[in-house]
C-alpha cells in the first residue's frame, strides 16, 4: 500500500512538472539538486529524485534524477540523503525580542506579533544550522483574541520579510483569566466565547489558531459550536477528548516533547493521530535544545506515531497551521527553503549537510577530520 502511494506521488511529481513545462530545467538560472530522496507532501520519501530551483528562489520542479540535464546540476547529493522543506519553529520565541504580551484588551485584533521580530537575533542563524528555516511567533495568550501570528525566514541580518499574513491567535485556557478584568472564571470565559461566536460579524470569525492546552480546554472548545474548527494548540493528557476530532479535518499543534518529559502528552498526540487528526510539532527555541523538533518526532515515532504522519508534523503541517502556503512543501511555486539531511530526518543520526534559503545555498556540515566547527552552543 505504501509503495503504491509512493509511486502515485512520483507520478504526480512528474505530471506536475511536465504540465508546468518545467520538467526540462533549461531556463537561465535554474539549478538542479540531483540524486536525493524528497519528502513528499504526504510525508513519504521518494528516492532518486532531483529538485529544480529557479533564479527567483522557488522550486520549479521535482523530476526523476535521470531526467535532469547534467549541465544544470548544481549538487549531486550523497547517497541516502534526503531533501526536505525547512523545519518550522511554531509558536516558540525564535527571533522575538522582549515580551509580546496580550491581554490588556480581551479581544485585541490589532496586536501584531511581527512587531516583536528582530532580524538581528543571532539565534536565527544557529537554528538555521540545525535545519530550522522558519519561525512563527505569537503574543502570550492572555486574552481571548491575541492579535495575529507572524512567520519569518530564519536569517540573521537580512530584512525580516514576513511570510504570509498571519492568523488570529485565540485562547480558551486558564491563561486568559485575569482578576483585573472579566472574565475571571472559566464559566465566564466560555460564555464570552459563545457570545462572540453568536454575535460578532462572521467575517471577523477567521479560523485561526486556538490555544487550548489542557483536556478541559479542548472539551469546552469542542462544546461551543465552531462553524469551522481552528487549528488547536493542545498538550493534553489521558482525559483529552481527541477522539471527538475524528473526521473533522482537525489539526493539532502538539509538543514539544522532551526526553524524560510527560509521557501522557506523547500518548495523547499518538491517540489523536490514530483518530485521523493531523499533527504539527510546536516550537520552543531558543530555550529548548536545538534539535527539539526532530527529537519530538523521534519520541512520537517511538511511542507509536506513523513515520509519515511524523514527517507531515515536521514539515507540511506547521506551514498549514500558520497559513503560509508557499513553505513546508516541495512543489513547483513553493519557496526554495530546503534542507539536505544525510538520511531520513526522523533518524536522530541524520545531519544537516546543506540548507537553501530562497534558493541561496549554505553549507553546514564540515568535511570529516577538520576541527573548525566550535559549535557554540549545542
Amino acid at each position: 500500500m505504501r509503495t503504491v502511494q509512493k509511486l502515485l506521488w512520483l507520478f504526480l511529481f512528474c505530471c506536475v512538472a511536465v504540465a508546468s513545462g518545467d520538467a526540462a530545467p533549461d531556463r537561465d538560472g535554474d539549478r538542479v539538486i540531483s540524486g536525493v530522496g524528497v519528502v513528499a507532501p504526504d510525508g513519504s520519501i521518494c528516492h532518486g529524485m532531483a529538485v529544480v530551483v529557479n533564479a527567483e528562489g522557488q522550486v520549479s520542479g521535482v523530476i526523476p534524477a535521470d531526467q535532469a540535464d547534467p549541465a544544470l546540476i548544481d549538487l549531486i547529493a550523497p547517497e541516502g540523503s534526503v531533501i526536505t522543506p525547512g523545519l518550522h519553529d511554531l509558536l516558540g520565541a525564535l527571533g522575538a525580542t522582549g515580551a509580546l504580551t496580550a491581554g490588556t484588551l480581551l479581544l485585541d485584533p490589532d496586536l501584531r506579533a511581527a512587531d516583536a521580530f528582530d532580524s538581528t537575533d543571532p539565534h536565527l542563524e544557529d537554528a538555521a544550522a540545525h535545519g530550522i528555516l522558519h519561525t512563527t511567533i505569537a503574543a502570550a495568550p492572555r486574552g481571548l483574541l491575541n492579535g495575529n501570528t507572524a512567520t519569518f525566514l530564519c536569517q540573521s541580518g537580512a530584512p525580516g520579510a514576513q511570510l504570509g499574513e498571519g492568523k488570529p491567535y485565540y485562547a480558551l485556557a486558564e491563561t486568559a483569566l485575569d482578576s483585573s478584568r472579566e472574565p475571571t472564571s472559566r464559566v465566564a470565559m466560555v460564555a464570552s466565547w459563545k457570545d462572540w461566536l453568536a454575535t460578532s460579524d462572521k467575517s471577523e470569525q477567521i479560523p485561526g489558531i486556538l490555544y487550548c492546552p489542557d483536556a478541559i480546554d479542548l472539551r469546552q472548545t469542542l462544546d461551543i459550536g465552531w462553524s469551522e474548527l481552528p487549528v488547536m494548540v493542545h498538550s493534553g493528557d489521558a482525559r483529552s477528548p481527541v477522539e471527538r476530532l475524528a473526521g473533522r479535518d482537525a489539526l493539532l499543534i502538539v509538543g514539544p516533547f522532551l526526553e524524560g518529559g510527560d509521557a501522557a502528552q506523547v500518548r495523547t498526540a499518538v491517540r489523536a493521530a490514530q483518530a485521523g487528526v493531523e499533527l504539527a510539532f510546536s516550537g520552543g527555541l531558543p530555550l529548548l535544545p536545538a534539535d527539539h523538533l526532530r527529537r519530538s518526532a523521534a519520541i512520537a515515532v517511538a511511542a507509536g506515531l506513523d513515520a509519515e504522519a511524523a514527517r507531515r508534523a515536521l514539515f507540511s503541517n506547521p506551514a498549514r497551521a500558520c497559513g503560509v502556503s508557499s513553505i513546508g512543501i516541495i512543489e513547483p511555486g513553493a519557496r526554495a527553503d530546503l534542507v539536505l539531511f544525510s538520511t531520513d530526518p526522523l533518524d536522530p543520526a541524520a545531519k544537516v549537510i546543506q540548507i537553501w534559503r530562497g534558493g541561496q545555498r549554505t553549507r553546514v556540515a564540515t568535511p570529516p577530520g577538520v576541527i573548525s566547527d566550535l559549535e557554540v552552543p549545542r
Binding site: 544557529d126 524524560g260 490514530q274 517511538a302 533518524d347 536522530p348 543520526a349 545531519k351 576541527i371
Partner: protein
C-alpha cells in the same frame, strides 16, 4: 531389626523422598522452550542474515540457525520480518532515581531505585533497554556508587534484579559556576587525601600494634623472672608494692583508628578495587579529572567529555581511560553549554581512546542517543556502539548462544532510524510487546 509395624510409615517416607527428588526433573521435562521463527539477524559486517529460528530454553538462547531443532511442545512466536538483537545496556541511567540531597561515597544508587515505578521502567524496556547501570545523581562532588540492574520482572511485582551493587564510584565535577567547580575539585581531592592519610594511619596502627604486642610479651617475661623477688618485697612493704604495681602497668595500647565507611570506599578506589567514573564536560574540569587520577593513581571513565578534543593529548596519556558520551539537553542560548565538536568521535578513535554511549537520563532515550552519536561518528554503526558498552557481561553484546536478553525490532535497527522494538524478552520471558491493532505496548 526394624519392627514390622513401622513398615507402612517407612514406605510413606520413601515415597515422599522419591517424589521430592523428582520435582526438578519434572520441571526440566516440562520446561517449554520459546521458539522465534523467521527472525533476521543484523550482522557485524552490516549485512542481514537469512531468516533463522531462535530457540530459548531456561532463559537462554540455545540455538540460532536456519535449521534449528524445534523442541516438542515449545511455545512458538511468529517473528517473520522482525530483526533480533541482544537487549540494550544503558551504562549511564538515572531511571526512577531522584536526586539525593547529600551524596557521599557510601551512597548506593540501588538504594534509590524504585522497582514499582512501572511507567518509567516500561518506557525503558519498550525502547529495548534490558539492563542499566544506575548512576546516582546529587550535589557536585562524590555522588555515590553506580549499581548494575537487570530490568527483569519480579515474582512479587515490580521490575529490577540487582546484578552488582557497586560497579563504580561516581564523581561529578560538572555542576555549578566556575568557582563552585574549583571548590568541588578541592573537596574531592581533600576526601582522597584524607583516605590516603587513613591508610597511612592504618599502617602506623598495625606497626604500633605489633610493637605493643612485642613490648607486652617482653614485660610479661620480665615479670615472670622477677616474680619471686617481688613477692618477698611485697610481703615486706605494702606501700612499695602499690608503687611497683603502677610501674608494672606496661606499654600503652595504641588507639585503633575510628570507623569511616566513606573513606573505606575511597580506599577501595586507591587500591584499584573499585572503578571510578568522573563526570566532566568542560576542558578545565577534564584537566582536574586527569590531575586527580594522576595524583591518586587510579584509572577512570570520563563521562560527558564535550570539550575533550581540546585536551586530547593529555587524555591520550592517561592509562586505562575510556569515555562515556551522553546527550544532555541543552538550549540554544549562547554561552550556557560546553563547546562541543562534531569531530570528537573521530579524534577519540584516532587517539585510540575507547568510547561508548549512555542515555544519561531515563534510559528510554538511549537508542536515540546512540543513533545521534552514530551520525556524528560516521563509521560506527549504532549496534556496534551499543554493544561496545556491554563488555562481556551476561546477556549483553551481540546476540549469541547463551544470551539472556533479546529484542525483536520492527525494521533493521542498524540502518532504519525509525525502527522500534516489537517485543522484549528477558530470561526467556516476553516482558513487553507491542500488541497488534494498537500502537501502545504493555507488560
Amino acid at each position: 531389626m526394624i519392627p514390622i509395624r513401622f513398615t507402612p510409615a517407612l514406605f510413606l517416607v520413601a515415597m515422599i523422598l522419591t517424589l521430592s527428588a523428582s520435582i526438578p526433573t519434572q520441571a526440566q521435562l516440562f520446561d517449554r522452550a520459546t521458539v522465534l521463527e523467521g527472525v533476521l539477524l543484523p550482522r557485524r559486517d552490516g549485512g542481514v542474515s537469512d531468516p533463522v529460528t531462535i530457540v530459548i530454553r531456561r532463559g537462554r538462547v540455545t540455538e540460532m540457525s536456519a535449521d534449528a531443532d524445534v523442541p516438542l511442545l515449545s511455545k512458538k512466536i511468529d517473528a517473520k520480518g522482525l530483526y533480533a538483537t541482544a537487549g540494550l545496556l544503558d551504562p549511564s541511567s538515572n531511571l526512577t532515581l531522584g536526586s539525593v540531597s547529600n551524596g557521599n561515597a557510601v551512597h548506593s544508587a540501588w538504594d534509590g531505585f524504585d522497582r514499582y515505578d512501572s511507567e518509567s521502567i516500561r518506557a525503558a524496556i519498550a525502547s529495548g533497554v534490558t539492563r542499566i547501570q544506575l548512576q546516582p545523581s546529587g550535589p557536585a562532588g562524590i555522588v555515590g556508587r553506580v549499581s548494575s540492574i537487570s530490568l527483569s520482572p519480579l515474582e512479587r511485582g515490580g521490575h529490577g534484579v540487582l546484578e552488582e551493587e557497586h560497579v563504580a564510584l561516581c564523581i561529578d565535577l560538572d555542576q555549578g559556576p566556575s568557582l563552585a567547580r574549583i571548590r568541588t575539585f578541592d573537596k574531592v581531592r581533600n576526601a582522597f587525601l584524607a583516605a590516603k592519610r587513613r591508610r597511612e594511619g592504618g599502617d602506623d596502627y598495625s606497626t604500633d600494634l605489633e610493637e605493643y604486642l612485642e613490648a607486652l610479651a617482653e614485660a610479661a617475661k620480665e615479670k615472670a623472672k622477677e616474680g619471686d623477688e617481688k613477692k618477698e618485697k611485697e610481703k615486706d612493704d605494702d606501700e612499695s608494692k602499690k608503687d611497683e604495681k603502677k610501674d608494672d602497668d606496661g606499654p600503652s595500647k595504641p588507639a585503633r583508628p575510628g570507623r569511616d565507611p566513606a573513606a573505606d570506599v575511597l580506599l577501595q578506589v586507591l587500591e584499584q578495587q573499585l572503578p571510578v567514573r568522573i563526570i566532566a564536560r568542560r576542558s578545565e574540569d577534564i584537566l582536574n579529572a586527569i590531575e586527580l587520577a594522576n595524583e591518586f593513581q587510579f584509572p577512570f571513565q570520563l563521562q560527558g567529555a564535550d570539550e575533550a578534543y581540546m585536551v586530547l593529548d593529555l587524555l591520550a596519556e592517561v592509562e586505562g581511560l575510556s569515555v562515556l558520551l551522553d546527550m544532555p539537553q541543552r538550549p540554544l542560548i549562547r554561552g550556557t553549554a560546553p563547546r562541543s565538536s562534531s569531530q570528537l568521535i573521530p579524534l577519540l578513535e584516532k587517539s585510540e581512546i575507547p568510547w561508548t554511549v549512555g542515555s544519561g537520563g531515563l534510559s528510554s532515550s538511549l537508542w536515540r542517543a546512540v543513533r545521534t552519536i552514530s551520525g556524528q561518528s560516521g563509521t560506527a554503526s549504532p549496534l556496534s556502539i551499543v554493544n561496545s558498552g556491554a563488555g562481556g557481561r551476561r546477556g549483553s553484546g551481540w546476540l549469541r548462544r547463551g544470551s539472556a536478553d533479546l529484542v525483536l525490532w520492527e525494521g533493521n535497527p542498524a540502518t532504519d532510524g525509525a525502527a522500534r522494538p516489537n517485543r522484549v524478552i528477558i530470561d526467556g520471558t516476553v516482558v513487553w510487546q507491542r500488541p497488534a491493532g494498537t500502537k501502545e505496548g504493555s507488560f
